[in-house]
Amino acid sequence: MIVDVRLLTAPFDPAAELGAFTAQVPSAGGVVSFLGKVRGDDGVQALEIRHYEPMTLPGFVALAQTAAERWRLEGVLLLHRVGEMGPDAPIVLVAAASRHRRDAFAATDFVMDHLKGESWLWKRERTAQGWRWIEPRDVDHSDRARWR
């Protein structure tokens, strides 16, 4: 069982990371992944994500472990950027590997729903009007409620 959880302060290559993760789970029959990136078409010039060192990464590790206990997985990958990013930049890569596909689909979806709104991250974006903090959305809450 591979649990690879990292907070990244510099740009990363999602394809290379996914390849490296896949190579570590030879017993898996499938790998499901989700890549979140900065939208490139809605006037956002930059996105900044701030974190709190003592809590953000420990929270990610706990989330990955919860997923690993809830489904039959061969591995979980959770990479999240912090700092300032430009349009199109990768923000988050979540992947789950399992012997049979449904566990990997469900675990990836579960981790993403809980990352949104339950992780210690604060986002702001810069448009032509300047910087603006992003407030929580109600849909993030209802997305998580699906798993209770």
């Binding site: 003592p54 999240h80 990352l115 992780s119 991250l121 604060w122 702001r124 903090w133 929580p136 993030d140």
Partner: protein, 81 residues
């Protein structure tokens, strides 16, 4: 040992406080907040702001007393991963 604790302001609170961290004298939180700019103290006491003492969440209602070297973080609502 220096008798100070540290307040840490996350997210938009950092902008509102004008700093990411503030060294404060040790003692009860209410005394520390009383020593801050009133406008900032009101923002920090917003019920949606959560508190973490040395990396662990603590109830906002409890009597918090900061000792030397303690770090109290003010965590505004998170905005998603």
């Amino acid at each position: 040992m220096e008798q100070v604790a540290r307040l840490v302001f996350l997210g938009r609170l950092e902008d509102q406080a004008g700093t990411a961290e503030l060294a404060v004298p040790i003692g009860p939180l209410e005394d520390i907040l009383a020593g801050l700019n009133r406008e900032l103290a009101v923002i920090l006491l917003d019920e949606r702001v959560r508190l973490a003492l040395n990396g662990r969440l603590v109830p906002q209602t409890g009597a918090i007393v900061l000792g030397a070297g303690d770090e109290l973080a003010f965590l505004p609502p998170v905005s998603g991963g």
